[in-house]
Amino acid sequence: MTRAKLEEALLPPVVALLVALLVGDILILSFGQSPGAVYWQLLEGTWGNAYGFGQVLYKATTLTCTGLAVGLALRAGLFNIGAEGQLAAGGFAAALVGIALPAGIPSLVVLPLYVVASSLAGGIVGGIPGVLKARFGAHEVITTIMLNFVVLALLNYLISTRFKVHDTLHTAELKSGAVPRLSDVFPAFHGSAANAIVLLIAVVVVAAWWFLFRTRAGFELRAVGLQPEAAEYGGVSVGGVWWKAMALSGAIAGIGGLNYVLGYKRYYEEGFAAGAGFLGIAVALVGRNHPFGVVIAAILFATLSQGGLAVNALVPKQMVDVLQAVVIISMATAVPEVRRALASLRSREPGAGSREIAAVPETQP
């Protein structure tokens, strides 16, 4: 990546964060608190101790999956609003595997089964809008939103009937496949939900990067997202890319369900995915649809989310929700604004104008 491209990728989130901090200052002052103390508390409660850091890691893992899912679909030019349902479906499928298989099967055998089940379930939920779009031209924003309702209602129905455990809103516990908690290795993390699924997701992130930027399928997917007409001209089946990208996007969101169901609670619980799917849209936006950017953005949003609990004694934790929203709004505003500012800055650098670039003024006849 060139310096210019890196500047363009990194500056908007930094600007957005600064704006959010400024708005946060005003909010904190209006509660009669000192911004410095609140921000210190926020950092102390997240990155300042092992438990807080573990919670950030745990939350960031799920957000990385949903952010990656949204970002990958956006690379193909598709807006996947359905990560919420895909995440829940993935988690539920993992719970089914855990309930159906008897205890005592070696983890090496059963863990891949969990991955397959959760990605398959998420992939199907994501793939349906993809197929509807490719085949009938149904807009994916509408279909993914609506499918969220269908999937979540269906899962709620199932756990209150067929898979009901008395007096709870969750399924029975998984019987096989142990995933170590971080606290098993480092006792300091005691009580935090962080677990080894984070390693699996790290692999998914790198694989997604490799897929997008190093493979022919990724080349074709990004071409479809940038210019579908040019991709079609380049021999790419645009509809094919659409449904495959949606299925892949759903699969990645689905795998995210493992973090809660397999790594943390060891059962599927109603509402475990609440908000994580939609926050994934923000994560993808701030992460500029780049797998590594998504990771950074997921850590940022996880920090804010966990930090909200840490500062609850000083200011209402909803303040952090406001900060998250401000980050998103500033980000959406900053991307074009920063690009414009950088362009005019570069044009003032000596020698910049002498380079033979002539793309703008004359329109095509």
Binding site: A230, E232, G234, V360
Partner: protein, 509 residues
Amino acid sequence: MIRLSDIHKSFGAVYANRGASLDVAAREIHALVGENGAGKSTLMRILSGMFPADSGRIEVDGKDVSGWTTADAIASGVGMVHQHFMLVPTLTVTENVMLGAEITRGLQLDRQKAEHDVQALVQRTGLVVPTRQRVSELTVGEAQRVEILKTLYRGARVLILDEPTAVLSPPEVHELWRVLRRLRDDGGTIVLITHKLDEVMAVSDSITVMRHGATVGRLKTSDTSPREIARMMVGRDVALAQDSRAPAGASPSSGARPLLDVRNLVVASSRRANVVDDVSFSVAAGEILGVAGVEGNGQTELIEAIAGLRHATGGTVLLDGTDVTRASVRARGDLGLSHIPEDRHERGLVLEYTLAENLILGQQHRFTRAGALDRTRIEAHARHLIEKFDVRPADATLPARALSGGNQQKIVIAREMAGGRSFTVLLAAQPTRGVDVGAIEFIHGQLRAARAAGKAVLLVSADLTEVLALSDRVAVMYGGRVVAIVPGASASAEQLGPYMMGVSAGAAA
């Protein structure tokens, strides 16, 4: 009347105007000429108030109006007719003309008065259009007249026209000249942006030539020649297309094997019956078949159907004897079909992709090893083609967006004609559109070289001069049909004009 002096304007790092000037006298037709990217349109948009200049002075009628807005410009009688029509297709001609300058009676539109006013304007100017029809039902030539009417309706005395003939047939061009002369004789002033030298000679009174954003000269049309203008535009001597007609009898087409054979091809569209209607022709090895016609008569759809980008509802397409009517784009490419698409910004290039990536577009499956892109080979391939086709700047990591039109087209041509696979048939749609004179020379050379190498070339161009200069045979399309196929050596604009207008063969003779 109008005086622009020392205008500078840049967009980010790109200079559009650097020290441009323009002097237009009242009651003259003034041609503003220059290659694509010379800064003509930018200068005229500054004059019409679309955006301000970075520096420089604009005077109209001796008054300094620098930095005015389009509203100011219109109020002072300066209006621009854009290359791309800005009309609402579902509204009638009258409604479009009055849009933004509506006459009201109370809260209601006064349609009767508007209709009356527009009719009067039509009478006065000779811009004949059916005022009660919807714009979507008009021909391109009529739509353009509506654009001009719209500008005049707002009181323009200075009319700026940006490449108005790009979409017109020869008779429509003559009609436009007649209208412009009449407007001038009635006291109007006209600035005509163009890069076609025959138009300059035909209609203008005086000329301003621009190159690289600056004004290089002002000429009286009666005292100059196309050759002199071309030299000023490019900065050196150039071979003009009309100098190099295909030598008569040089074509090997008779008896040669047809490489592209199109039989009874039909493309239906949702709106009208057939956009391509029962078209048959073949192109032999070592032949260029040119397709002439006013844009929008099925040429785009014909090329896309042959390329596999559009569903053919009937007929067959044979590629060197193989039926490819139902084959995918990729399969056709692998069978030796290359395609220079008419819109390189939409189809021919992924503008955000690097030159190296664009140079494998459509051939990506040939640069793949076990699913992964073979980056070493892609880079070597890009280096080779960039050097061979002298693409500037010679940096394979730049996005295609950063290149000039001519260099972008070189990327497309390099890929299609010298890329990772060999070809037997070339579809060249508007291959020189929006590129400068130097690049046109180069592209024409490439097409001739393909013919000499025994390839079959199907050339579609809105530029009749180009079709006549290159083609062994010329097919004319009108209303989705091929209405005539004539030998290129004897074809002329006068002969083809009536066909392009849909006049029957009998009347054309």
